[in-house]
């Protein structure tokens, strides 16, 4: 390769950094590959790591270089991302070193997938990614936007690409938050081929932006013959975004939900964000309304105090009461609280059961009108009850065959 720079440095080391490494590559004119490896797992994986460095440099056409690696127990796909990112700083390449994919493959998700919780994972911190799925959020977001420093954006993109290939996601939806447009468009080139269920589009203000990424995803999918659906969740984070909420929600059939980002929104308004959230009441109402009108999910902002579980619980209750279908989280401990408060309660389930039973009875009898006692039940109410029941089954709150088990 042709070198534009004399030094490539990627990754993190020192202090409390774990499961990561810092790679420095300095091309030379002669002398072959000289490796200086400092690793806390050197006696166990030193030979492996040195082999990996040599293979990768050979793959990218580098024959002479000094390589320094400071490793705090990085997994091989992390090491690969760091080496590739350092090499890409040295010059242009059309090659990518892709680690072997996770044997569990990629599960498609429906547009109305349950999205109570979605956990943000900083896109340049591998130690937080490796076991994140164990905490069972509905979605895992590999974030390239706010959690990544500007000078780390390029290496994070490679790390997240590798993470999408290798990480265990369990039953969590595979989500990425790309950078603000236009930079976010080229993020998609790296990420979409590795299996993404949903793309979060930050600071969205217009339907045009949604169409832009819809097209880009379609082009990549055609080019790479990808078959899985990629849903879009625009994040409304400005006054203008709120004004255009319905237009954004209905811009493309790929839009599965709108989320609201209250840190930026309140900054845009020039007000302080409070726990009572009266300052954003209008915006959240507009968002929920726009989503219902467009037939998609409405997702609330994150709750930022990770130690205040009571405050989180109260916020989730209010959020659900307003019509939101889920919210973001920034710490695994928030997931259980969010699920506990978003799940349908016993009273709701019992009421939904009665409505669904009435509906089934009406169908059996060939009646067009569903009634419960003396009350007529409208179709949207039936639909909502069916959704509640489906959720209750999914969450193991009731048996799957609860209807068949009813006394005749």
């Amino acid at each position: 390769m042709n070198f534009k720079k004399s030094l490539g440095v990627a990754g993190n080391s020192g202090g409390k950094i774990r499961s990561d490494c810092q790679v420095t590559i300095e091309p030379a004119d002669s002398g072959g590959i000289v490796i200086d490896l400092k690793s806390k797992v050197k006696s166990m994986y030193g030979t492996d790591i040195i082999r990996q460095i040599n293979e990768m440099l050979d793959f990218f056409g580098i024959a002479n270089a000094r390589v320094e690696m400071i490793d705090s127990g990085a997994l091989s796909w992390v090491i690969a991302a760091r080496i590739e990112a350092a090499i890409r700083q040295l010059g242009d390449t059309d090659k990518s070193w892709l680690p072997s994919p996770n044997p569990n493959g990629i599960k498609p998700t429906p547009i109305d997938q349950r999205r109570f919780s979605r956990l943000y994972l900083p896109g340049n911190s591998p130690s937080l990614m490796i076991n994140a799925f164990l905490h069972k959020p509905d979605g895992l977001i590999l974030d390239l936007e706010d959690s990544v420093a500007p000078e780390k954006k390029a290496e994070a993109r490679i790390l997240v690409r590798n993470a999408l290939r290798v990480l265990d996601f369990g039953d969590s939806e595979r989500m990425v938050r790309i950078n603000q447009l236009p930079a976010g468009l080229s993020d998609l080139d790296f990420l979409i081929p590795q299996g993404v269920n949903l793309v979060l589009l930050p600071k969205c203000e217009s339907a045009g932006q949604v169409l832009g990424i819809t097209e880009r995803i379609r082009d990549i999918s055609l080019d790479k013959s990808l078959r899985n659906e990629v849903w879009i969740m625009p994040i409304i984070e400005s006054a203008k975004g709120v004004v255009n909420a319905y237009e954004i929600a209905s811009a493309s059939p790929k839009v599965a939900a709108l989320a609201i980002g209250l840190e930026d929104y309140t900054a845009d308004l020039g007000v302080r964000r409070t726990e009572e959230a009266t300052e954003s009441f209008y915006a959240r109402s507009v968002l929920v309304n726009a989503c219902r009108a467009a037939g998609i999910q409405a997702i609330d902002s994150v709750f930022s105090d990770v130690d205040d579980m009571e405050g989180l619980g109260n916020t989730v209750k209010r959020s659900r009461a307003m019509g939101f279908d889920g919210m973001g989280c920034i710490h695994p401990r928030q997931i259980a609280v969010i699920h506990e408060n978003f799940k349908p309660d016993t009273e709701e389930i019992e009421k939904a059961k009665k409505i669904v039973i009435a509906f089934m009875e009406a169908q059996k009898k060939g009646l067009g009108v569903v009634s419960l006692g003396s009350k007529m039940i409208d179709p949207p109410v039936v639909k909502r009850a069916q959704k509640t029941i489906a959720q209750a089954i999914e969450l193991s709150l009731i048996e799957k065959n609860w209807y068949e088990m009813l006394p005749q």
């Binding site: 006696s43 997994l75 044997p103 695994p332």
Partner: protein, 519 residues
Amino acid sequence: MKKYDKLVTNAAGRIVPEEINGQVAVPYQGIGKYKPDGHKFGQAISSCADYPADGNKLVPTLREALIKSGLKDGMVISTHHHFRDGDLLSNQIFDIARELGVKNLVWAPSASFPCHEYLIKYLEDGTINRIEGSMNGPLGRFTSEGKMAGLAVLRSHGGRYQAIQDGDLKIDITVIGAACCDSFGNANGLNGTSASGGLGFALADSQYASKVIVVTDHLVDFPCIPWQIQGNDVDYTVLVDKVGIPEKIVSGTTQITKSPDRLLLAELTARFCDVTGIIHEGFSFQAGAGGTALAVGDFFYKIMKEKGIKARFARGGSNLYLVKMLEEGYVDYILDGQTFDLFGVKSMAVNPNHVMTTPYTSYNYHGKGNFAGIVDVAILGATEIDVNFNGNVVTHSDGCLLHGIGGWQNCLFAKTVIMPIPLFRDRIPVIVDQVTTLCGPGELIDVIVTERGICINPLRTDLIEKVKDSDLPIVNINDLKQEAERVCGRPEKPKFADEVVAAVKWVDGTIIDSIWKLA
């Protein structure tokens, strides 16, 4: 030159020395197999006529007390870890020994901590020949690198009592740091500004050592009550400005973890105990040091509170969480071998149901029974577990010695032993095909809880039966080992030189495994 040439394969298939520092050593024979004959070790008869009639045994300095005790080359000097990383005495003792030009001492601490890295210079200059007890962190690395002159010996808390009682470890001088004592030598760790809790680890030393020195910074008039250490066993007392730093009792391993992954382990462990009925009215439990074990205790508390279940007793390491359970009536008694924080110290001082125990009552092999086996469930950690459920707590997978055994081996005799451990730490698998060092035989380790699944020892058919209809993620340990290798890669085995640097004792004094010098 090799330190030891005579090696033998023991009943666990491990190669161990037949001789340790000139004494014949017995290879491990199996659980409960080794029963030595003869009589317990006895010290020389003393006469009270040789001691001050007014009971005042104060000498001005620790130096003078050591000289009066006859400190000389080759002696065994013991200390204790009631102040954990806040121990101020051990380093001073060897400063004094160095000043006096005494050589080839054996240091027999009940546990060592990072503060003892200071002693490396005395291991290097010949003041200390070897350590018998525990080698933590830098001392462990020093041992693993083959730099210790003598052969190091690792013993559990119970094993230390056993070795003192049967004469395997003959202590010449013991120095006991006590927060409070009288001039006669009655001492406790409960009162004064340096209160550290019970002094249980010093009991054997006080009864079996030739010379007993008690050092305090809080001298009270006779009688010092309670007398955890009896003045009748004490030769000299010393008053110093500061005996230890009790704030340092709370070292890294005594705070509840904040890591979401570790909390998940703790929650799974508690759920397992709930589903299997281990948590039942009147049960007993022991949670060791370590953030995860402490978190397990807190999850136990939540379950007990929700179901209105009370425990008969909890074994300490006492700490804030255990004290809370005692005060709220969720446990009747804390039987406490060691206080892990200042809440535990205070509780032991004021609450009669918070009782000090010693390795004699809880763990000792030469007692007529001990109560390790009465405990329903013990929650312990490990650096490695192998597919046969064998456990390692002293070395890491790179072969380096880094930890002592503590009470770990002794606690394995609980009715159910559960080890919540991560499947891998960074890139280092914790479930492996064979442990680097065998510290506990697989027959005694019942359940391994990892963040990616729970393994039950096939010997525990009763537990397997109890969880079969639950939603707990039960997996085969071989599958879990493969999962660890899928994520981390397959590590290379550590490379060792052909030289034993430390012997690991089993609870009965036999040698269960050797630590080998790093190549």
